[in-house]
Assembly symmetry: C2
Homo-oligomer: 448 residues x 2
């Protein structure tokens, strides 16, 4: 069955409340299937699913669900059953869900868990969800440095079921300080008597628990690691971050940047699950801010009321001129915001970027000026107005490119997310100034 | 030394042409360091680096370089030296670079290589660079199904140095058909006499070589795999795709989408390395298309010349009204393009999306109408013009939201990349129609 068929079947079973068939379908689905399915369901369908899914599949469903939704479900479950569900989840998933519960409801749940499980979850909850600590799992494999390779493999066999990955084995001293790392394949491909200390890579790549999750993603990917050790400020090993945690982070961060660049606050949930109210709230703030900024254009135009009355034709070109300025700005700013996000550009490159973008703006402006001159003559507005249009578009292209080049880099050096310089924002910023340029050129050239 | 210090030092050494110091720096850098450094250098610095870097570090530099730039360097190198460099690279990197050479120069290089290496590279070159086949490496570990676990580990030890990953061992029949896969940790954690056939997962997740690289990335991440087997249409194992190949693909695809959403063609190279000419070429096409589409606004405005002449105040609100329409459209389209890209929304969801976005547009429009009415009265334009403005902004918000909701989904079902519905494009599309709405409402309400 393809994923699309599974989705259709699941929807049909939910509608017809066919529990036995749903049970049989659920038994065939792996956690990653649920992860692909759940974002496609609307809130009512998720509700139904949580009621109907067999207990055996419930942990897989909860782990794939948005932590907030999973927490809401736990609140409607008897504490003993809720504790059972939490125990069946990976500790990092459990901690993410518990962190969304009201403070008063957390302890009654944790006390019902096995003491070790509860302690792991408590430790994980101490870290912000978007930090390296919030992303890590404590399910790593650790050995002492004086073990031999054969013994290390035997140790591995005892814990392999609980570990998130056995690709790497971490070497810790008596006080849990991280001494080194060795890969399973190194361990396997060597003589069983070799001491672990000789095999390990000392001073391995690691990350502090309070570092942000994007740094962890970059480190893991840049070094091509399967797992990244997370340490505290005294180099105690606290947990590991694995590739599958990171893939979600990279995708979520790109989604947030894209949504910001489109001029709204990030949704922070799958689109189909976001209700009308949430969409309105996420968008209205920027819409109002942009409206307030754009309202300035009305003041500019009223200031030039006499000029417009004398040459009404000037008004024909307002959308075209400010539109082109906005387009140039949007091209520059989205390219730069992305280049900043992936580390290709840094704030100190500002001189090189400004020079390059001004040159590009000049070239594009010259091309657009010729085209605009042609277009103006098609509207029969006279060569003098045509020259005003051409000169204005040249000036606006250079101006927009320069503003859009400097703004994201300046914001980044002020430690503000440059992705707030969305296409709508840069368009709005250059609209008002574009009109000032337009009517100033018109005033002088047309002697108004 | 931090990456930033390394970069500064490298730049200084290149400028001062200090070969011994550069040699010592290069000897400390790993391939992933070069991958982080090279996108930050401009073309002249890359040129200098290629001349000065010691031969031992050259393969690492070439592998981290853009394949086109690496090919350009190979063309300036004597064929025997070039062949030596290719042999030192991973076969998938070598194939990417050779594919950028003029056809006539490929064979003279390949014949200088070891016959096996040349055959591997030839096989890889048969696939499009953005297909699963173009991404895979043939450096996997394979065993026969009748081997025992202990023998499989011994086989592994012989080839471990050449393999890209030993996390998975693939089980092939005599004719190289993929029968199953087993993880190294399964192999290690079992009795040495167990036959491989009993340990392997049959019918493993795999991908066809001609599938696109985004599908491969999604499959690998959704299933949390370290490597994904690539097969031909008869299930022969051709190669594997590993996590580090995929991280680059996910990042590059997000970059392309973001650049498209900003209204330009993707740069397809690091920003600082793209010259003014390339930036102009990548942007001018969309700028001209958008200009042509926006030029229609001039025709609309000339059509309403009488109305503008009678009530010049109407022109004050043109940028504000069409700007708000563009902002709403941009919010909707970027959210949906991203939701389509990550698979949260599909074309068949069009009814649900249209209904939801129309409701959101109505709510946002109502809020903006109140604000716009207030703003119009601050400009002293009379309550009748104020009502026109308020009604227009309500209509434009709903209209923009609806157009921006349908367009990306329609394009996707026509198999056109929905990311071409950039913020600038949707702004341009709703500008002209917004003006028609505006002046039609004005004409009736103000009896013009």
């Amino acid at each position: 069955m393809t994923m699309r068929n599974i989705e259709t079947t699941l929807r049909a079973l939910l509608r017809s409340a066919d529990r036995p068939a749903l049970e049989s379908l659920a038994s065939q689905l792996a956690p990653h299937d649920w992860a692909a399915l759940l974002p496609r369901l609307d809130p009512a369908e998720v509700e139904l699913l949580l009621q109907m899914v067999p207990d055996s599949a419930l942990p897989a469903v909860l782990g794939a669900l948005d932590p907030g939704d999973a927490a809401a479900h736990l609140r409607e479950t008897a504490p003993s059953a809720a504790a059972g569900l939490l125990a069946a989840l990976a500790p990092d998933d459990a901690a993410d869900i518990i962190a969304r519960l009201p403070a008063a409801e957390i302890e009654p749940l944790l006390v019902r868990l096995d003491a070790d499980d509860a302690a792991e979850i408590r430790d994980l909850m101490a870290f912000a969800p978007d930090s390296a600590g919030g992303l890590m799992t404590p399910a790593f494999v650790a050995v002492a440095p004086d073990l031999r390779a054969g013994q290390a493999i035997a140790a591995l066999q005892r814990v392999a079921d609980e570990a998130e990955t056995v690709a790497y084995v971490y070497v810790l001293d008596r006080d849990d300080h991280l001494l080194g790392v060795l890969s399973l394949h190194r361990l396997v491909l060597t003589h069983p008597d070799t001491p672990v200390r000789q095999l390990m890579v000392t001073d391995p790549v690691r990350i502090r628990a309070d570092a942000d999750q994007e740094s962890a993603a970059r480190l893991l990917n840049d070094h091509g690691l399967i797992a990244l050790p997370v340490v505290d400020d005294e180099n105690h090993l606290l947990g590991i971050i694995t590739q599958d945690d990171i893939a979600d982070v990279v995708e979520a961060e790109a989604t947030e940047d894209i949504e910001r660049l489109g001029g709204s606050q990030p949704l922070e949930m799958p689109y189909l699950r976001a209700g009308v109210g949430r969409l309105v709230r996420r968008r209205v703030i920027w819409l109002l801010l942009l409206f307030a900024a754009e309202a300035y254009t009305g003041t500019v135009l009223r200031h030039f009321e006499d000029e417009i009355t004398q040459v009404v034709a000037l008004s024909f070109f307002i959308p075209l001129l400010i539109g082109t300025g906005g387009n140039v700005g949007s091209q520059v700013t989205t390219t730069l915001v992305r280049a900043l996000a992936v580390g290709e550009v840094r704030p100190r490159d500002v001189r090189a970027v400004l020079l390059k973008e001004s040159a590009v703006g000049l070239a594009l402006g010259a091309i657009m000026a010729v085209v605009a001159l042609g277009r103006s003559q098609l509207l029969n507005v006279g060569i003098d107005v045509g020259l005003v249009i051409a000169l204005t578009i040249l000036a606006i292209c250079v101006w927009s490119a320069a503003v859009a080049a400097v703004l994201p880099l300046a914001l980044r050096s002020l430690r503000i997310d440059p992705a707030i310089v969305s296409a709508p924002l840069i368009t709005t910023l250059v609209d008002g100034t574009g009109l000032v340029i337009y009517f100033t050129i018109a005033k002088y050239l047309l002697h108004l």
